[in-house]
Amino acid sequence: MGIGFSLTAVILLVLIAMVGAGAARLEVLFGVVFPYLALVVFVVGFIYRVVMWARSPVPFRIPTTCGQQKSLPWIKPSKVENPYTAWGVIVRMALEVLLFRSLFRNTRAEMHNGRLAIGSAKWLWMAGLAFHISFFTIVLRHLRLFTEPIPFFVQWANRLDGLFDLAVPTLYMTDLLFLVSVGYLFLRRVFIPQLRYISLAQDYFPLFLLLGIGISGVLTRQLFKVDLEAVKELALGLTQFHPTVPKGIGLSFYVHLFLVSALVAYFPFSKLMHLAGVFLSPTRNLANNNRMKRHINPWNYPVKVHTYEEYEEEFRDKMKAVGLPVEKE
């Protein structure tokens, strides 16, 4: 159900762009208004979501420890997997965010004749990392359209990414990687029965959207060969708040841009917010120094307890009978 709905939604988005920017000649709407709107929704929504999370306190320090604790001086602690200092936490978080450390642990459990075998399983980690790195590089590369002069790191990203002359115009490695990894992430949702069972519309929709963006991007560049000078004029205009819409940018570009706008606007309402959420995760971003340093719960409130006096009151005779000391005779 979710898969059909999501596919239909993305196809609909493509059609809207084709009709809108094509037949209806609404280039300004699709080239200027929607991108601006999407950006506003993104920034406001993103901040709103993070603020809403941050407003809930972290009452307890609950890191998931994945290594030896810091205890006796002669036992080697695991400084990163079970951090007890701020630096340890920073490194742990960096590994988590940049290299997906936890996912790297992934294993696969299999039953053979009533025996359980647990083996390594790195495909999800690899595809996930490949997708995120290529997506990041592609975004970085796109900065060349928004900047003049183009910063050196953007130039490097372009040069490095196009090192292998796969086609003319240069087909970037990350474009291929992006499509392959997103495709893998989609196919595993379809072919692994458990995963298909749990997948919702909001799992398929971003994947279709990303595929749409990737395909329309590659087509825009490789097949339709839109006028890059004109695209840059539009992009620079947007960044300088003097938007102009040059004539003759191909339709495929507007489809690409509209899908990107859709993704950007959808982002804050979706699971894609894991981008920000991972930084706030209390099982990862806290040091396991619980017994060294007291953690404060802002809403800690007094509770009803059974006091020693009440306890002795009930059991005093029995206590005295076995010679236990009592407070009141």
Binding site: Q69, R105, G114, L116, G277
Partner: protein, 540 residues
């Protein structure tokens, strides 16, 4: 349900992983005997003042809920979303990548897709999306959102009491989503309308009133420990004193009541007594703070705090300097991650220092409570106790990391260091099944009751499978652990899956090897089994 009523192990390990044809929202929960726990008795709830005490059972059609139960649950959810960032975040950021799926021992052992941590959480998320997000309200089922109704509540009950809060899935989650946190919230919500299980609520009410889960009254506890002193005298020829409620002692010792209540925990308890006697430790037991464990953790944060308060209160009343804690799993989750925050600061205590070695336990300088394996490992390191590991030569030992000390603390090397010094034959299980990747015993978080036996055997299967592997490969016949729940749940698990393997605490093995001043020549171990006489065996 006893073990012999279960299907044979061969049968139980034929697990079907194919998800049902119907979607998870359209597959109602089936309360099949052997796979769920019985409801709490009204008396237990009344003692601690919890809502909706009544006679009922999960398999009843009518759960006798208060008329406004739905509002109570939704309001409870709102309240907790505002109080716990973890809850709010974990409701929002899951991408359903499925990495957690086959990490859960209950999923591996049952094949039920709702035992995949992701889907367990979705049971709660579906209602969250409906009530607290716009997309959910708008698009309904398509986005995995649904109204809270009685069937959903029954599903929550079944699956949140089918999670042992072991946190194994959280190790693999790219965002650190912790199902224990989800289950804790789910159970808190269920508790608001009186849906709780007897195997948790009876210990809770017992603990509140008598100081320990098993409801042992002060004179009973004294008699039990005196009985151990008799046994120790028979084995070693040494009469030891057991100090109780003694003001002015240097150390308060707190351990789970399971240790002095039932075998094989009792041998571990004798181990503590022998070690403390040999050291001449200035310490005391308490009949009031006579429970290290805390079934409040399996009920609500508030109940956890109410039960835990006894430990600091008693330390203050007795005027001790610091606290030493026995072998227990979830107890150490509470001590390590909650106690100081909830009931501290413990500024009336001193930073713990071992009176034997002078070691400062700087890792416990705020909470002021030290784990017994930290204490004993330090003793061994400084050569302060004399050990004869050959007295454990009849054993090939492996070590089961308890969930909480490994994933909520990182107590991994201390017990292993001790084991390597008190026995000659120690091997670890495969690395994917130990340390932070350890598998649950299948009966933690209050699920270790008899009526839930089939699910325990299923959930414990991955652990048993790893034990079977080292049993067949290295002849392992003893599974050591540092958890009282393990000592209660692992013996039937072993009996079912690997009957050649017995279970014990680490300090039972310490006491076997401990050469005590003035002891007679030992002919048996603490269990009364004759010591192995052969000498010069090779290490494994």
């Amino acid at each position: 349900m006893s073990l012999d009523k279960l299907p044979k192990p061969q049968e139980l390990s034929q697990v079907d992983y194919k998800p049902p044809k119907t979607g998870w929202m359209d597959t109602p929960v089936d309360f099949r005997p052997g796979t769920y726990s019985f409801a709490a008795k009204p008396k237990a709830l009344e003692i601690v003042g919890m809502p909706n005490p009544r006679e009922w059972q999960p398999h009843d059609e009518d759960w006798k809920l208060p008329p406004d139960w739905k509002e109570i649950v939704i309001e409870g959810m709102r309240d907790r979303l505002e109080k716990f960032r973890s809850f709010k975040l974990f409701m929002d950021i899951c991408v359903r990548c499925g990495a957690c799926a086959d990490k859960c021992h209950f999923f591996i052992g049952s094949g039920d897709p709702k035992n995949m941590p992701v889907l367990r959480a979705e049971l709660l998320r579906s209602v969250y999306r409906q009530e607290f997000t716009r997309f959910g309200k708008l698009l309904g089922k398509l986005t995995g959102s649904r109204e809270l109704n009685i069937d959903v509540l029954k599903e929550w009950f079944y699956y949140f009491y089918q999670c042992t809060e072991c946190r194994r899935c959280s190790v693999y989650c790219p965002y650190g989503i912790d199902t224990a946190e989800i289950t804790m919230m789910g159970r808190e919500l269920l508790n608001l309308v009186g849906c709780n299980i007897d195997w948790i609520m009876s210990p809770v009410s017992n603990c509140y009133r008598t100081g320990n889960h098993l409801g042992i009254q002060p004179h009973g506890m004294v008699e039990m420990l005196e009985f151990f002193a008799d046994d120790i005298e028979d084995i070693t020829g040494i009469r030891i004193e057991v100090p109780f409620n003694r003001k002015g002692a240097e150390i308060l010792f707190v351990t789970p009541s399971g240790d002095y209540f039932a075998d094989p925990g009792t041998y571990t308890c004798m181990g503590y007594l022998m070690l403390f006697h040999e050291l001449g430790l200035d310490y005391t037991w308490s009949t009031y703070a006579s429970e290290g464990g805390n079934f409040g953790l399996f009920t609500s944060h508030e109940m956890m705090k109410r039960l835990n308060a006894k430990i600091y209160a008693e330390a203050k009343r007795l005027g001790v300097k610091w606290i030493l804690g026995g072998e227990c799993g979830h107890m150490w989750r509470v001590i390590h991650q909650y106690m100081d925050t909830m009931n501290g600061p413990a500024d009336f205590l001193e930073e713990p220092v071992s009176p034997i070695t002078g070691t400062k336990f700087e890792n416990a300088k705020s909470t002021k409570m030290v784990h017994i394996t930290e204490f004993t490992a330090d003793l061994i390191r400084h050569g302060k106790i004399k050990l004869d590991p050959s007295r454990n030569d009849n054993l090939v030992v492996t070590f089961h990391d308890s969930c909480n000390p490994s994933r909520a603390m990182g107590l991994l090397e201390e017990p292993r260091y001790i084991l390597r010094h008190v026995c000659n034959h120690f091997v670890d299980m495969p690395e994917n099944t130990i340390r932070e990747q350890t598998f649950c015993c299948g009966g933690g978080a209050g699920l270790g009751n008899d009526e839930n036996m089939e699910m325990r055997m299923r959930g414990g299967f991955p652990r048993a499978n790893a034990v079977r592997y080292v049993h067949e490969k290295y002849g392992v016949n003893r599974l050591a652990c540092i958890c009282a729940i393990d000592r209660a749940t692992l013996p039937p698990l072993m009996e079912y899956w690997v009957p050649e393997v017995t279970v014990s605490g680490v300090h039972e093995l310490v006491a076997n090897a401990l050469v005590m001043t003035g002891e007679k020549e030992r002919t048996t171990n603490l269990r009364g089994e004759p010591l192995k006489q052969t000498e010069g065996e090779e290490d494994v």
